[in-house]
């Protein structure tokens, strides 16, 4: 779960990380008054897309009145398909230098990873490797101040900034642990008249830790309505651009099914991992979601392990009887209770393949026909 910049900065402020004076507005009421209290002003659209600056999502009005106008304009904007959620009106900092610092998780090393650079303010991927400092964290040690001093030294920060940077990193790490963060990123970390200030705040919270979220933690939704519906029944679903609807059980096998569709010259309409052990009801609902995307054809690839083939077959029968299945449905069904499943399908006038290649080839062929 990504948080908007203003939410991240609220948490930064609470955890003692310096941020510019600022306030979020969801409409323009009060904007001018607040702006009047700032010596210099920046208005930033709150949207979870990258590159909002280049897309015109950040403005530098010269007066309180101009700020109100800018806020109104930005609130009406759509950036990379996402409507602007709010605007953050902030004190515009005097920028002496810009740094980059982030804490994330390195899955390969199974440890938190600190990434820092004295060349901040730009996309970190554009910074040459030799200007990037990386240090893994031992969770049994955490980040003590010395860790920050060593990072600062490698970054080439002067002594006067080293202590501030070190205190900041300790706080960032505490926040990273306390809020189950996947990512805490400050870019740029601005040096302004001798003080280090987080000019931006990127904070991604681990969705799996939702049960520990403090109540006040805001929720940000990036998924489509259908993806949400699928999530509600425990199914991973991602919409894509192709023609063939896909349902399989397991992330790897679903991905492989997409690959095989591609291999046979077709294009998938979606990724749908119905998971292991989905029963009749969940499978029926998943199929309904699939149908709502209006694919040209649907291919179902079930290797029954925990998932029982008869449960799956019953779901198809149920959907066919109730809302109907208006597109060709190609089913590959093997594994636990395979025979019972095939029999249920047969009674509904449907048949099943035993091998994945035959099933996908058939689906691609049917989709091509539909397209004609």
């Amino acid at each position: 779960m990504k948080l908007y910049e203003y939410m991240g900065k609220d948490i930064f402020r609470r955890e003692g990380i310096p941020v510019p004076r600022g306030q979020a507005f969801f409409n323009s009421a009060g904007v001018a008054d607040f702006a009047a209290s700032l010596p210099a002003i920046v208005v930033k659209s709150q949207v979870l897309a990258g590159g909002r600056g280049k897309a015109g999502g950040i403005k530098f009005p010269a007066s309180a009145t101009e700020t109100e106008v800018a806020a109104q304009e930005l609130l009406a904007t759509v950036i990379r398909d996402l409507p602007v959620h709010a605007v953050l009106v902030e004190e515009k900092l005097k920028i002496d230098r810009e740094y980059y610092v982030a804490i994330t998780v390195d899955g390969g090393k199974r440890k938190p990873l600190v990434i820092a650079s004295a060349q901040g303010g730009v996309d970190i991927e554009e910074v040459a490797e030799e200007h990037i400092v990386k240090f893994h964290v031992d969770v049994h040690a955490g980040i003590q101040p010395h860790f920050g001093r060593e990072v600062a030294r490698r970054m080439g920060l002067p002594a006067a900034e080293s202590k501030q940077f070190s205190e900041l990193l300790v706080k960032m790490y505490n926040l990273f642990r306390k809020y189950d963060a996947e990512l805490v990123e400050i870019n740029p970390l601005v040096l302004s008249s001798g003080k280090l200030i987080a000019a931006d705040a990127k904070l991604t919270i681990d969705d799996e830790a939702a049960f520990r979220y403090p109540e006040w933690l805001p929720s940000v939704e990036e998924r489509t309505e259908r993806e949400l519906k699928a999530a509600a029944i425990g199914i991973s679903f991602v919409e894509l651009d192709g023609e063939i609807g896909v349902m399989a059980n397991g992330a790897g096998i679903t991905m492989a099914t997409l690959d095989i569709i591609n291999h046979f010259g077709g294009s998938p309409r979606n990724f749908m991992d119905a998971g292991g052990g989905a029963g009749t009801e969940a499978t029926a609902k998943a199929l309904e979601i699939l149908l709502s995307t209006k694919p040209k054809t649907i291919v179902v690839n079930i290797f029954g392990g925990i998932t029982r083939c008869d449960d799956v077959a019953r779901a198809f029968a149920q959907v066919k009887e109730t809302i109907g299945i208006p597109v060709p449905l190609v089913i590959r069904l093997v594994g636990t209770n395979e025979e019972a499943g095939v029999e249920i399908l047969r009674q509904q006038g449907m048949s099943a393949y035993r091998s994945i290649d035959e099933a996908v080839a058939k689906a691609v062929e049917l989709a091509a026909k539909e397209a004609v």
């Binding site: 899955g107 199974r110 991905m255 392990g305």
Partner: protein
């Protein structure tokens, strides 16, 4: 022979009275695994499929010479369960549970490293040494003993491949599921090293997928292996930036792409199958059959 678990493994099931724990205990018993005891706080004294249930791991270990534990506890309780097993001295741990918080995984792995515990998972189908023992949720029917070691990130895809191997007359020494989460215990490299040492294993199948750089790291080790490696990778058609099912499957920063993985594996001498049903044929070739 096999790796990690075999006929001598004495197994504990944590969360044995839950729906999943109960069902898979029956399946593991049916497969012949030596499930000695279960743990379920407050349920001590009960039995599940004839297996005695204890309140704590320490209590179970007073009664049985347990060597390995499999965890079916809901995600919020996994850290507690894993620490209980490790604190009690268990050195092999299979964590089936999915949706375990990332920071709990970090804590578990740090403690496992300190105490030299082998962790499989979380979010794994487990491990099976066909004909010997099983700690996991994979179907019992699709495996048969033989010379092929299999290590996979993803469950059902590995079933597909194991099933194909079995139907092709190619049995397996051990099949290991690393788990689909961003932070998991065993890595491809660590499992490959165990297969390299295992006399039964003659060839290794690596089932990977896009995202992360585990396959690229494994390639460095594959270069040094004496045994042939056959790989299959899911995700050749995945669009960049979309998260597909589990955290592993994100393409970030131009790393972890299908192309980079295929290139690294091929360069290391592994044969990469373009389609899942081609794996068995490549294995047969690698075995010189």
């Amino acid at each position: 022979m096999a790796i990690i678990i075999d006929t001598k493994s004495v197994i504990l099931v944590q969360g044995i009275t839950g729906k999943q724990g109960n069902f898979h205990t029956s399946q593991m018993l049916a497969y012949g695994a030596r499930v000695a005891a279960g743990v379920s706080p407050g349920k001590g004294g009960q039995e599940v499929h004839g297996v005695p249930v204890f309140d704590t791991v320490a209590q179970a270990m007073e009664q049985y010479p347990i060597t390995a534990s499999i965890i079916f506890i809901p995600a919020p309780g996994v850290k507690d369960a894993a620490f209980e097993a490790m604190s009690a001295g268990i050195k092999t741990l299979v964590i089936i549970t999915e949706h375990v918080p990332l920071h709990d995984e970090l804590d578990i792995m740090a403690y496992a490293e300190k105490h030299q515990v082998t962790i499989i998972g979380p979010n794994t189908f487990g491990i099976i040494s066909p004909g010997q023992s099983k700690m996991g949720i994979m179907p019992n029917s699709i495996y048969t003993p033989g010379p092929v070691g299999v290590v996979a990130r993803s469950g059902t895809l590995s079933y597909e491949i194991a099933n194909n191997l079995t139907l092709s007359g190619l049995g397996q020494s051990t099949v290991v599921g690393l788990g689909g989460d961003r932070v998991v215990g065993l890595s491809f490299t660590e499992v490959l090293a165990k297969f390299e040492q295992d006399p039964t294993t003659k060839v290794v199948v690596l089932v990977g997928e896009i995202g992360g750089n585990a396959e690229e790291e494994a390639s460095l080790y594959i270069k040094e292996m004496t045994k042939p490696v056959v790989a299959f990778l899911a995700g050749s058609s995945a669009p960049p930036g979309k998260r597909m099912g589990h955290a592993g499957a994100i393409i970030e920063r131009g790393k972890g792409t299908f192309q980079s993985k295929v290139a690294a594996l091929t360069l290391a001498g592994a044969k990469v199958a373009a389609l899942p049903w081609e794996v068995a044929e490549l294995v047969r070739e690698a075995l010189g059959e």
